[in-house]
């Protein structure tokens, strides 16, 4: 296996359909109108020297190396900025051009260190390549003149260094930061000879606004911006394309390797979700795979107060299986269950639910999507006929109005956030509905037309008010509704939504949003013409999460914003494989492909495939499992790749349930918080150590490729298979591709999916079957999956979580860019430098009333529990609202959140908790007790470990 080298065409492709034919060095070539001469030349294999050009960026024309001659035109135009023309005759090589190019290179090299042999870019340096390409043999100017060779390196960023002595001021880094990432953290400071790249106002990279996405490093043609890993290890020798294991964007990366060591992960230009871009997590935060905390040997213990004992795989698997069998024998077949992971592959998730349904003999399987996007499944399923997001990511390029509700794309889905920002800079209008002033509201060259800073818990009221304005002001798209939706249902819904109590004026006091702003936002969304909704967990994680999803679907249908590019309803999935884990039948009421367990046809397919009778009744959801554990009827749990003790709400309830169980089996790469309550620990492996597929938020199925041996000895699917065999199942897959074949055989929407196809096409978006052989980038084009779109009445119902004198503030929670969910991965990387602790954002007025200053330790208390953390005083949150992240187990934000949940799906109400904030002198009693238990529970028997 060698290195994967993508062709750099120098400039971006043209979207034109009309072809233009020209001649380059005597060779005829036809390319789309608008293509640059440089790109046309590259299409036929002719390399025109270049330095400032790269096809990720707009043409710039500054380096003067790509000069060409064009017959009939004066001078030597830059090929990167010159578009092709019909009949054009281009010469890319002649004596005149060679002399000009050598002259340009001489100037560059006269102010560049000549340390190529010891330079970290040796072997991967465009400047070096160009010196060779133009035949540079001497530098007539010498090296003694004024130069930048003594410029000081900036090593402040943990992942890359900036060595200005090697900079040729091509501006590729600055342009990448602007055009690709959209942060505008870099600039060219000074002019002429004094020009230099500067992060912010001559700051260090780490102190600047740089978000460490890596776009500048990738764009740099020299060793000026270079990964520290390359400096330390040298150039990679082979690479493989794989899929990021962080958020639901599903970025493709080249894992560039030396043997079994990762040198760096570089975003893959042909990745259809990310088109060559990345964020600080995917690009750099993979070091957790090698972290010293990795547990690589199986362990067991009789009681959670015992130290762990390392054992063989055979003993661990046999112990887990015997315990599960014992519990079933003593307490019934339904006394055990399992939880699948949205961080694991489709194939692994499929196997876990198969083990539970066919091996355990019940439907007690659930997944972490329970606590994030389960309301999406319910709401979109009821209205459109499928839980799927309606668009691909590329669709945003054609949106005229973007409505972001309850999502923070620049932090939670950063690569898509950059894509969205690009579209906004190009002129699309933006509406943000969020209690917090997220970065999108106002950032360089972007300003939301409307920020509706609603009170947490009032989503349904706001979305219904938008619909009220649209219907009562005659902005509904009647033609679309008549053609695509059930008119009678629409008429009933329209009568409901037109009632005065849903008007912006009526709900202004409730939501805290001025009526005029709601009316203006509604008109903007309705006028589009292409209006797209993007939403996240700020929609779903409420007691009315499903109702809000339904209200959003109504809004899209009433304006006809469904079924074409640039529009749609787009749930931004939190974890890398949330979509896939849901698709794979991880919910207790559904088989893979979202078919209810009571569906005889679907059940029959699996009974024949698996050779056992299956239960037709829904199993327990995660919170119900814990309730049943406290009740004594659910005593065994297999948890693959999840950490419910940290991620799920009302920690004390979770811990109570786990403690009540007799056998908890945790399969993970680290001793996570849930493992503190486990009896068997089965070491897992990272995405770098196994084969499989992930499915991203746009339903795109992509390969995960093994680039190193599993540190624990087995891929996660193999561990599940061993457990299944020990439980008495016949399960003998030799490779994950065989699991995907079974998925395709049994799941209509995956019928056309196979590893062979993914190998050939890179990715495919489900549904992919006979009806859609090429996959389905956009859903509901001619008709809704359910036939006609269904308008459903979703009335606002106030949450039972109320503020009052004891708990007067509302807490809402979220993520930050550098950390990922429970932080198990990112906390074990240098990303921790950006976010070493969870902070409590509090409005200046609320802080002043409590005498709280920025940086003070405060106690955060709710009806569920209390914790301490430091305060960050900011008007980013509205008056009466506080906000924190949940990345650190020391803080345990979920000690505070309650067990209230969505009415339809039990998705927890993370986003609304009544709290009080007061000064604190130290950790709470809960934090002290938890830490003591955590320390004790992580002991590994020293003698047995040897």
């Amino acid at each position: 296996m060698g290195m994967i080298h993508e062709i750099d065409y120098g400039t971006k492709p043209s979207a034109a359909t009309k072809l233009v034919t020209l001649t380059i060095d005597g060779q005829s070539v036809s390319v789309p109108e608008g293509t640059s001469v440089m790109r046309a030349a590259t299409e036929i294999g002719t390399q025109i020297p270049k330095l400032c050009a790269t096809d990720m960026l707009d043409s710039f024309g500054s380096c003067r190396l790509c000069l060409v001659e064009i017959e009939g035109r004066a001078g030597t135009p830059a090929s990167c900025t010159t578009p092709v023309a019909e009949g054009m005759v281009v010469h890319t090589q002649n004596a005149k051009l060679a002399k000009l190019r050598r002259g340009v290179m001489e100037l560059y090299i006269s102010d560049h260190p000549l340390d190529c042999l010891t330079c970290s870019a040796n072997g991967d340096c465009e400047l070096q390549d160009m010196a060779g390409a133009v035949g540079l043999r001497e530098v007539r100017y010498g090296y003694d003149g004024a130069n930048h060779l003594g410029a000081t390196k900036d090593i402040s960023n943990p992942y890359f260094q900036f060595d200005p002595s090697k900079c040729i001021v091509c501006s590729r880094c600055v342009r990448a930061c602007e055009e690709v990432q959209g942060t505008f953290a870099l600039t060219i400071e000074g002019s002429g000879f004094g020009s230099k790249v500067s992060p912010g106002m001559s700051e260090q990279f780490f102190d600047s606004e740089c978000v460490s996405c890596g776009a500048c490093v990738q764009a740099c043609p020299t060793a000026t911006l270079m990964e520290k890993s390359v400096i330390e290890m040298g150039q990679p020798e082979h690479s493989a394309v794989t899929t990021c294991a962080y958020c639901g964007v599903g970025c493709s990366f080249k894992a560039e390797m030396r043997g079994e060591e990762v040198v760096r992960l570089v975003p893959y230009k042909d990745g259809k979700a990310n088109h060559g871009h990345s964020c600080v997590k995917g690009r750099f935060a993979y070091g957790y795979a090698q972290h010293k905390d990795r547990i690589t040997k199986p362990m067991i213990r009789a009681k959670i107060t015992d130290p762990w004992k390392e054992v063989s795989w055979e003993e661990a698997i046999a112990y887990a299986a015997s315990e599960f069998k014992r519990i079933q024998r003593d307490h019934g077949q339904d006394a055990i269950g399992g939880i699948t992971s949205s961080r694991c592959t489709n194939e692994e998730t499929y196997l876990v639910q198969k083990l539970i349904r066919a091996g355990f003999g019940n439907n007690n399987v659930d997944t972490c999507a329970r606590v994030c996007h389960s309301p999406t499944g319910y709401g979109l399923g009821k209205t459109f006929g499928t839980s799927a997001g309606t668009q691909d990511f590329d669709s945003v390029d054609e949106a005229d109005v973007i409505l972001v509700i309850g999502a923070n794309p620049t932090d939670g889905h950063p690569v898509f956030g950059s894509r969205m920002k690009k579209r906004l800079r190009a002129g699309a209008r933006l509406i943000v509905i969020d209690p917090r002033r997220i970065d999108l509201v106002r950032s360089p060259h972007i300003e939301a037309s409307h920020h509706l800073a609603l009170r947490p818990g009032t989503n349904v009221a706001i979305v219904n008010a938008l619909a009220h304005v649209i219907v009562t002001e005659g902005l509904a798209n009647e033609a679309f509704i008549r053609e695509r939706c059930d008119w009678a249902e629409y008429a009933e819904w329209a009568a409901f939504i037109s009632k005065p109590e849903h008007s912006p004026e009526a709900i202004a006091m409730l939501t805290g949003v001025p009526a005029a702003d709601i009316r203006a936002a509604a008109r903007l969304y309705a006028e589009g013409p292409n209006s797209a909704i993007y939403y996240g967990l700020g929609v779903t994680e409420h007691s009315q999460g499903s109702s809000t999803v339904i209200a959003i679907a109504n809004l899209a249908m009433v304006t006809g914003n469904i079924g074409r590019r640039g529009v749609g309803v787009n749930p931004l999935r939190g974890q890398n494989n949330v979509q896939g884990s849901c698709d794979m039948g991880s919910f207790p009421h559904e088989f893979p492909g979202y078919r209810h367990v009571s569906n005889d046809t679907a059940r029959g397919i699996y009974e024949r495939e698996w050779g056992v009778p299956l239960s037709a009744e829904p199993g327990l959801r995660i919170p119900n499992m814990l309730d049943a554990a406290m009740d004594g009827s659910f005593l065994g749990l297999y948890v693959q790749g999840e950490d419910i003790a940290q991620s799920d709400p009302d920690t004390q309830h979770i811990v109570g349930g786990l403690t009540a169980m007799e056998c908890v089996v945790v399969q993970d790469i680290f001793l996570n918080e849930t493992a503190n309550y486990a009896h068997v620990f089965l070491p897992g492996c990272t995405f770098l150590e196994k084969d499989g597929t992930f499915t991203n938020a746009e339903r795109r199925i992509q390969r995960v490729r093994k680039v190193m041996s599993p540190k624990n000895g087995y891929a996660d699917w193999e561990v599940t298979q061993m457990l299944a065999q020990a439980m008495g199942m016949k399960m003998n897959y030799a490779h994950p591709s065989e699991i995907m074949d079974e998925i395709a055989r049994t799941t209509p929407s995956f019928a056309g999916v196979s590893f062979a196809r993914l190998e050939q096409e890179g990715s495919v978006q489900w549904p992919c079957n006979e009806a859609a052989p090429e996959g389905t980038p956009i859903m509901h084009i001619d008709h809704f999956v359910r036939g006609r779109g269904r308008f459903m009445i979703a009335d606002y119902v106030a949450t039972d979580e109320k503020t009052g004198p004891r708990f007067p503030l509302l807490l809402t929670t979220g993520r930050i860019l550098s950390q990922y969910n429970v932080g198990a991965q990112t906390r074990r990387t240098e990303n921790a430098q950006w976010h070493p602790e969870d902070l409590l954002e509090i409005h200046p007025h609320d802080a002043e009333q409590r005498g709280v200053k920025d940086g003070d330790w405060v106690k955060l208390a709710s009806r569920a529990g209390e914790t301490t953390l430091r305060a960050k005083v900011t008007d980013r949150v509205a008056l009466g609202v506080v906000y924190t992240t949940f990345h650190h187990p020391v803080t345990q934000a979920n000690v505070i959140t309650t067990d209230y949940s969505d009415w339809a799906t039990n998705c927890p109400e993370y986003k609304v908790t009544a709290v009080q904030v007061s000064h604190s002198n130290g950790p709470t009693e809960w934090q002290r007790d938890y830490q003591a238990h955590s320390n004790a529970a992580r002991r590994i028997d020293a003698v047995a470990a040897e």
């Binding site: 829904p618 309730d627 009827s633 009445i793 009335d795």
Partner: protein
């Protein structure tokens, strides 16, 4: 009422409220269908027992929905 029953009653009432604006019988039917589709049998068993004991705390629509489900049980 135990904590678990309290929780189940709360869940059932939440579901009932979601269908409150439907015609009465439709609201009962939708609530019953939702519970049947998503609740595990020991949750149902617990609620039926609670219903037999008077069904304290249950709103009218979920009460009727639970009764409907209970009556549909095989004799």
């Amino acid at each position: 009422m135990s904590k678990m029953e309290d929780r189940l009653v709360h869940m059932a009432n939440q579901i009932g409220k979601a269908f409150l604006l439907r015609p009465y019988q439709e609201a009962v039917d939708e609530t019953a269908a939702h519970i049947k589709a998503f609740w595990e049998k020991r949750m149902l068993t617990r609620m039926f027992a609670h219903l037999d004991a008077g069904g304290a705390g249950l709103d009218e629509i979920p009460r009727q929905a639970m009764l409907k489900l209970q009556q549909a049980l095989p004799k």
